[in-house]
Symmetry: C2
Subunit: 465 residues, 2 copies
């Protein structure tokens, strides 16, 4: 693991920032700012991340584990001194994985692959299914293919995803996962297997949801790891080159099932503001995780970061605006928590929304989607994070999944973009575990978030709605 933020810079930045956010007279030593607190050996985010991943582990949406996580979260946030801590429940349809096995059965002796079912995948039944593979080098190639190339076959979607600091490959390559099975089902495929949406070379496939349009009957859908996809491609090349005889065939056993409607919930906690009339700042993450790992980078760390920053702002002195911490439920399987929050609170005024849901590596860019009235505010924010190596972006902030509905509805947003270079090595895999988190980069996140949150929570009504 690397440490791109020298301790020297963290310390220097803190000194400058104390002046920026607490402009007291030169005679009086300023009280510790939120940034000072974040820099002084902060382990709040780490301990939240460690405890949640150790004591709960995976937190698949709608399951007993997610319910236990909510109970844990309420107790933890209360013990940190937050106000109005509560679990706001909602109903959701729950899908859980069952057995998952796959073999290449032809043209060579059977070889077992590392596979995982995609969320909403249909079941193959316990006996599984077997079929010829229809190979597509990309999602676009599948879309362009005539039905005859697909009908009655197991579609395989290949691609070459490379790591990118901003994670932008997820949109491009992710299409194979998001809707590949739907496209294949409409063309008559009996199942879909994709090269997992990931940049690692380990035999831990990346899970994730796939979506079938209304009226399209779901088919079994899985993802195999990069080394397994490489193996499939090598066998495919031997078949097409005629150096191996017989078709490329796969056997699949995927037995996920739908458990019907269950409870999930959003855990909410607040730092009450001095001015009850001022609209709140909302900071979000999601408490649920996929089930293969312990959801450390996705998204225990995010919950640790936003709660630690809010706690530091609270400790530094009551802010003008309320800070509302949202640990959303059921994000992974369809952003049900974000929608439930919007349904319950969307008509309330929010000053600005932020989300941490891209791992635990350092923040490298700040982006804004703010009203014109916030020009000076955005300059203050950019100046405050610059000492920590965070640059000002030239594109509008996106928001994030759990605050997506709010931002869509016009709530201003600030993004603290994290370095995603290795995010898709781990995302949704069994390898998403605590040991993957670099404590130094996690702390840089908390420092940057504390700086930003202190400024936003003390912003004027003339600056934010």
């Amino acid at each position: 693991m690397t440490n791109p933020v020298p301790a020297r810079l963290l310390a220097l930045g803190g000194a400058s920032l104390a002046l920026l956010v607490s402009p007291l007279s030169a005679q009086t030593p300023p009280p510790p700012s939120a940034v000072d607190l974040a820099q002084r050996g902060d382990d709040l985010a780490w301990s939240i991340t460690e405890d949640l991943t150790t004591e709960i582990g995976q937190r698949m949406a709608g399951t007993e584990a997610e319910a236990a996580a909510r109970k844990w979260a309420v107790a933890r946030l209360q013990s940190m001194g937050f106000a109005n801590v509560r679990d706001e429940p909602f109903d959701m349809s729950v899908w859980v994985r069952g057995e998952e096995e796959a073999w290449l059965t032809s043209p060579f002796l059977p070889q077992k692959l590392a596979i995982t079912a995609l969320g909403t995948s249909a079941s193959t039944g316990a006996k599984g299914l077997e079929g010829d593979i229809a190979y597509f080098e990309s999602f676009d190639a599948l879309v362009a293919a005539p039905d005859t190339q697909v009908k009655g076959k197991i579609v395989f979607i290949d691609h070459q995803m490379a790591p990118a600091q901003d994670g932008s490959g997820y949109g491009t390559y992710g299409r194979g996962r998001f809707t590949g099975a739907n496209v294949a089902a409409k063309k008559g495929a009996i199942a879909t297997v994709i090269r997992a949406i990931g940049t690692d070379d380990h035999r831990n496939p990346h899970a994730g949801g796939t979506n079938f349009e209304p009226g399209v009957k779901p088919i079994p859908a899985g993802a195999i790891s990069n080394p397994d996809a490489d193996q499939l491609v090598r066998q495919w090349k031997r078949v097409t080159a005629g150096t191996a005889s017989g078709p490329l065939r796969m056997k699949l056993v995927l037995t996920p099932r739908n458990l019907g409607t269950k409870k999930s919930g959003n855990v909410i906690a607040e730092v009450p503001g001095r001015d009850p009339a001022a609209s709140p700042v909302i900071v979000a993450c999601h408490l649920d995780s996929w089930d293969l790992g312990t959801g450390a980078i996705d998204d225990a760390a995010g919950c640790g970061i936003v709660a630690a920053a809010a706690k530091h702002v609270m400790t530094a002195g009551q802010p003008r605006r309320t800070i509302r911490v949202l640990w959303a439920g059921a994000e992974e399987v369809g952003v049900f928590g974000g929608q439930a929050y919007f349904d319950a609170h969307g008509t309330e005024k929010h000053a600005v929304a932020l989300e941490s849901d891209f791992g635990a590596d350092r923040v490298w860019r700040i982006d804004f989607k703010l009203p014109d009235s916030a020009k000076a505010l955005s300059d203050r924010l950019a100046a405050a994070v610059m000492p920590f190596g965070v640059v000002r972006g030239r594109q509008p902030a996106n928001g994030g999944a759990d605050i997506g509905a709010l931002v869509q509805a016009g709530v201003p947003a600030v993004d603290l973009a994290q370095d995603g270079t290795r995010y898709f090595d781990l995302h949704h895999t069994p390898d998403d575990t605590l040991d993957k988190i670099d404590p130094v980069q996690l702390r840089q996140n908390v420092v940057v978030w504390s700086a930003v949150l202190a400024i936003l929570a003390n912003s004027e009504d003339s600056e934010l709605p």
Copy 2:
């Protein structure tokens, strides 16, 4: 992946070596040496490794897959032009894995672990077993513990294995795997789980054999990945600190079974020497693999390296001594192939034995265990490999598993020690797949082996027995 051997050096070394091994007059350009051939875009080792791992995949000893690998190997070695290619069969007792699952069931909600059974592990039965965990920080701590600490419990053996270039940690930490279950069984444990013998942080546990003494009834024995062992330790610390209530408990389902006596075999091929009276040079690897990966670094690459080097020596001109290539069967599960070779050929004279079974990263050291008569020979060998970054070691050569019985019986040995820094990231895991091999380092192996083999196969009777 890194490239520690600049192409420049590979080229320069070759020029020098052509002179060393083919001392012709300055007027006549020398014919290409084995090293020249190895340097000219050699892909023999790669193609053997790729084809074996792709067309056969895992090759668990005594199984249909290993038999297919032998058939493949005979055809491949014949097609390369080797003489006397044959499969020398032997009987062995075969163990195969079944279901393997584990959960931490207390003090928190059940959490699933990544586990694999160790070779010769007993079965838990399909329903599994559950018990309190007796934690030991090391194999030595288990040995020192009174029976009362172990009786009726699931023993967990922890340790901290760090990567080492020479792989020496395997001996120290490996004891927990080699005999930990035996020690625990004698003290009354119901099962043993070890922190896998590995240096990676992926949730792919390292398989491997464990040995029970005659008279000790085998118990279920498994290995969990490093991240899972970390999780277990974190839960253990919470139990001992009293911050979690209830004992640390584990449920295990391991259903391996013994298939009885089956056939394995050694595949042998030769480069016949000019002098039928001269004793042969034997170069070995093993054809079988553990079953979780495709046995790319362990040991398809070794078979590729030794066969490619022998082929290059053959192409460069018939050597004085016969080169015998041994692709041994059933190494992983107890060196049955090496023993079978010794039983069949141990009374024949062998000039010297070498083995490649430590991955595919570069050779960095040459070690000797040669008769006094070979002083000048060892100097020639050390000089020949120096241009490729290989240093002369100060310790005697070990030989290797498959030639172990020969070396034990007095056959001279040369070791071409490979860089093992990342070997135990991959060893015996699902991640031992083709993509982990660095083609540049693999080629350096072939170049070094070609240089050494050319000299050894042309050595005098006054130098080697």
